[in-house]
Symmetry: C2
Subunit: 427 residues, 2 copies
């Protein structure tokens, strides 16, 4: 069994197959599993990369039948049952594609070139470096208009990532950077959340949506509704209705699509480039290929399942059971989804949670969010370090990881890296 | 007072001036202070960047008269008493140049392009990413010669950094990667330390030098003496005497010179590009300019002081006292150095220490090393996290930070970054 992707789907599938009479080979282009719900905390300088990512190899140590290979998948030869990577080829009997999703700029070139995405660990680090560099640069700027532009952060997209990020940036600035930069005038700083529709967190109940709106405003986040971004150019954001915002930092969280690997499996993808699969998660013409998680378009009772971690993990377990059944020459069953609920945080002390009939907002929601996420951060050691960091932050209002550092030799883009060169690759 | 450089010299000078009737402006091209003695632990995946670096701004918080600015110094107009940076200009009454040192490839182009330096935090991260990528790539390689080349690490330079790094890599491989990569054949792995003279750790007594040699050999590090590197090309290291070594990882720790800023102060630098100063640390023609730390060539009793942290810190304190005296219209005194001793570690359980009449090797030396470094890691929180990491490593033989991650957008040099493109900038 070859599994493509070591995210929540791929890892759960490997774990669910650990006692099956098969050899499992997990392939990913990164050597780590990323705990994506906390990625915004790396971007806002609260957590270190090592606290939300774990080497895949150490996670697989307990499984005797699983190995890992680092590689980029370049194509999938479904007829020949072979995965082609930049490092070599791998044959399979069963293939599980759990390649996840990627940022979708909807073909908007100025966005792809000038807005910062936030889907991967390296992007979280780049965003942290970028925002801190803008604030440093503002200390040299004598022109107030240009200074305000450096001190304005535009977050595009009012989904959970955008809401969490806007709240976290606001706290980073108002609690920590204000002390670090004694000459910072808070009236010159803005965090603006741009949402295309007329509501935040569309997946939540209206009471919780209003609670999120109010919590963000209390944290001095400006919220612009009906704000569809038309272009981003040299620090100027233009909206479809003509509104304009000057900001050197523009974060794009408003679009996702299935990862590129999904396109290698189908010529007529579903919405967001996802692969249409049978209710059993199998590829229609190739029952030996399963697609799970964000890469799969799975309909349950006429509705497409959302791109969420619980969906991916439940699909992974179902897929492992189906492989078991196929080995015993029985037919796979249709996948059923049990909705465990959804949550989003809005910074220290505030979150919204919608779990079955339960609706929590404010501090109680935040405690629930903290508990669920601490339990899920994968190793005990990580949990301990994350807890120390959070406790420190909570007690001392300090963010320990405000470093502007890139993994590269000296001389190259030391202080403020030019946005274009970094982002051109994002398209 | 403008201070260039937020290393041990610059920060100590700012601290020593905190009650002086002056305004202090600290300028650095990085926004953090780096605890350089532990940089090799980032390179060998034991510590995270946030554990050995602290934002300069948070370190300055207690000082009312000190501010920080992030910038690259481009020139110094000594006559006009002005520092020119890439962000703007700053005038000074007194200037303290504490710019530190940089890697010296001695004009060897193949080294500058293909060997990895280890002086800065970004370089430590790049080295970690590089070594882990080589081991990942080796799992795909079916040709044993090419596989051995991927699994060979050459460390050039038998000073403290080279010795510490070779020991740490050997442990990373033999204790951790062996478990992560179950199909790894340890007979294919080599860590080779290349030393140009016939001894390691030249600054230490001969008994300790022999102890270091023996400790490294016990850790299966090969030591080549009289090994002067002539060229590095595409995985082949050639020595001046014709010996050859195949290794895709070549780390260069065998040369330092004063940072570029030093060259802006003098047309006839001393050895290693350092600035010749008076015994009072003042620039001969400009008593308002002090040069301290690695950038300064200070002679005490006919001998040039070495590039060491205690030298920089003592010079910084002396320089602050001298500025005090100048403000009171008294003459600065000559600098005197009190040698606190030197230490180097050779991995878990072994180190050598030479402190006045005391000579420690092995486990006792290691405990001494651990204590001194834990006390000196700058904040309490860092100390706590570092201790948790070390204790974890010691108890479970695990290294938590084995991530291959770069702060950049997706698609760019994902798995194995091409060495040339990264290293060309190092020259």
């Amino acid at each position: 069994v070859v599994i493509v992707g070591a995210g929540f789907g791929g890892l759960t599938a490997a774990r669910a197959l650990r006692r099956a009479p098969v050899d499992v080979l997990l392939v990913d282009r990164d050597n780590y599993h990323l705990f994506t719900p906390l990625l915004y905390q790396v971007a806002s300088a609260l957590l270190s990369p090592g606290e939300i990512a774990r080497p895949v190899r150490s996670l697989l140590r307990g499984f005797r039948n699983a190995t890992f290979r680092l590689a980029n998948v370049e194509s999938i030869d479904v007829a020949g049952r072979r995965v082609v990577t930049d490092r070599g080829e791998v044959d399979y009997h069963y293939l599980v594609v759990a390649a996840g999703s990627a940022t979708n700029f909807f073909g908007n070139r100025s966005l792809a070139e000038q807005a910062l995405p936030l889907k991967e660990l390296g992007e979280g680090l780049a965003l942290r470096n970028w925002v801190l560099s803008q604030f440093e640069a503002s200390r040299w700027e004598t022109d107030p208009v240009r200074r305000r532009r450096l001190l304005t952060i535009a977050v595009v997209g009012g989904g959970p990532t955008g809401v969490e990020l806007a709240g976290a940036f606001s706290e980073l600035i108002r609690i920590v950077l204000r002390r670090d930069l004694p000459d910072l005038d808070l009236n010159e700083v803005r965090v603006v959340l741009l949402e295309g529709s007329d509501t935040l967190l569309a997946a939540f109940d209206s009471g919780l949506r209003q609670a999120a709106d109010a919590a963000l405003r209390r944290k001095r986040v400006e919220i612009w509704y009906q704000a569809l971004v038309r272009s981003v150019d040299g620090g100027l954001v233009e909206l479809a209705d003509g509104r304009r915002l000057e900001a050197t930092t523009v974060v794009w969280t408003a679009g996702v699509r299935a990862a590129e690997v999904a396109g290698m499996l189908t010529e007529s993808p579903g919405s967001q480039g996802r692969v249409r699969v049978r209710p059993t998660l199998q590829l229609p013409a190739h029952p030996e290929v399963f697609v799970i998680g964000d890469a799969a378009a799975v309909e349950v009772r006429g509705e497409l399942l959302p791109m969420l971690i619980p969906v991916a993990m439940q699909e992974a377990k179902h897929c492992a059971r189906s492989i078991h059944r196929l080995l015993m020459e029985r037919e796979p069953e249709a996948f059923q989804y049990r909705d465990p609920g959804i949550m989003a945080t809005i910074g220290r002390n505030a979150a919204v949670a919608q779990l079955g009939p339960v609706r929590l907002a404010g501090f109680l929601g935040w405690l629930m969010w903290l508990g669920v996420h601490l339990v899920n951060v994968i190793s005990f050691r990580s949990r301990l370090v994350v807890l120390v960091n959070w406790a420190w932050d909570y007690l001392f209002y300090d963010r320990p990881v405000r470093l502007i550092v890139e993994a590269r030799a000296p001389g190259a883009g030391r202080s403020t890296p030019p946005p274009a060169s970094r982002r051109r690759r994002a398209g």
